[in-house]
């Protein structure tokens, strides 16, 4: 179903349907994450991917019109580059440990400690929250700064226009 959605997105020329299909894709992705027991990520995907970004893209469409322009020339070179990269990535996956292999290196390094000690050390039953906010506090701080920077960037880019026109 996800593959069908993606192919439709690629073939579709009307950007409105592309935005709506991307929202559907996000919901499907959230279902997949739910099936993988990643409830926190599924929640984020459903609310950000399907909710907010759809609204923002529709707002952007309202500004710039709903039809995709015809490509100027045939995309053979980009297609070739993309295929080579896909090949390299697929080749790379052969060296990864098996899916759900309990002895994979990243499962024996810090994860057992997090899973066993998080409740005792932080008093927080949700290990995802414990890792995000406490063990990996620096990373989360960086993430928040990224969100902050994105907001500041949008403000800096878009603020001037209304001022000039409405004389506020």
């Amino acid at each position: 179903m996800m593959a069908v959605t993606v192919i439709t997105i690629v073939l579709q020329r009307n950007l409105f349907s592309v935005v709506v299909l991307a929202g559907i894709y996000s919901f499907l992705m959230a279902t997949v994450l739910l099936a993988l027991d990643a409830v926190d990520v599924a929640m984020t995907e459903a609310s950000v991917g399907a909710g907010i970004s759809t609204v923002l893209l529709l707002g952007a469409l309202h500004l710039c019109g709903g039809e995709e322009a015809k490509p100027l020339h045939r995309p053979w070179l980009p297609l070739g580059v993309a295929l080579v990269i896909v090949g390299a990535l697929v080749y790379g996956t052969f060296a990864l440990p098996e899916f759900s292999d309990p002895l994979a290196p990243f499962r024996t390094h810090v994860i057992p400690r997090y899973l066993e000690q998080a409740l005792a050390e932080t008093g927080v039953p949700n290990v995802v929250t414990a890792v995000l906010a406490s063990y990996r506090g620096y990373d989360t701080l960086g993430e928040v700064v990224v969100v902050f920077t994105a907001g500041i960037g949008v403000i800096a880019l878009l603020r001037r226009v209304p001022r000039r026109e409405e004389e506020r």
């Binding site: 409830v39 926190d40 929640m43 984020t44 609310s47 950000v48 909710g51 907010i52 609204v55 923002l56 707002g59 952007a60 309202h62 500004l63 005792a120 050390e121 932080t122 008093g123 927080v124 039953p125 949700n126 995802v128 929250t129 414990a130 995000l132 906010a133 406490s134 506090g137 620096y138 989360t140 701080l141 993430e143 928040v144 700064v145 969100v147 902050f148 994105a150 907001g151 500041i152 949008v154 403000i155 878009l158 603020r159 226009v161 209304p162 026109e165 409405e166």
Partner: protein, 143 residues
């Protein structure tokens, strides 16, 4: 969409529960799925829904621009401030053990404030971006 009665009534029914759910996700993130980021997005989505149904000016009255912009910075400052508080109380940056007499309670307190900071910044940024996009279309179309 201001005149759509069904939308107005359903929106009025939904929005309080969306905001309540955002708070639940924010403060229950320690025990169930969720946390500051998700809660911030849900809270912003509730206000964006309000803006879509009742119009942008109404939403701007509800959550004025200066407050939203202050939220953008306040969340980051709160997060960083928790880190600095750790230093002041004798630990490393972003060490929560020292925030309370009992290290576990200190961890809990640190996580609570950090998540609150994340939630505030995310709500602010999402709302601000939406205001920017929607407000820009309005001024160009003269609606």
């Amino acid at each position: 969409m201001k005149r759509q009665m069904v939308l107005r009534v359903v929106g009025k029914l939904f929005i309080p529960y969306m905001l309540l759910f955002a708070l639940y996700v924010q403060f229950h993130g320690d025990f169930g799925p969720g946390g500051g980021f998700q809660a911030g997005v849900i809270a912003a989505a509730a206000i964006i829904l309000y803006a879509l149904i009742f119009g942008l000016p109404a939403a701007r009255r509800l959550a004025p621009d200066p407050i939203v912009e202050a939220m953008v910075a306040l969340g980051v400052l709160l997060f960083a401030g928790v880190g600095v508080a750790g230093i002041v109380l004798g630990g490393n940056y972003l060490d929560y053990f020292v925030l309370d007499g009992d290290p576990v309670a200190g961890q809990h307190r640190g996580i609570f404030w950090v998540e609150a900071g994340v939630g505030i910044t995310v709500t602010g940024v999402m709302l601000k971006i939406f205001y920017m996009f929607a407000g820009r279309g309005r001024s160009l179309d003269e609606r």
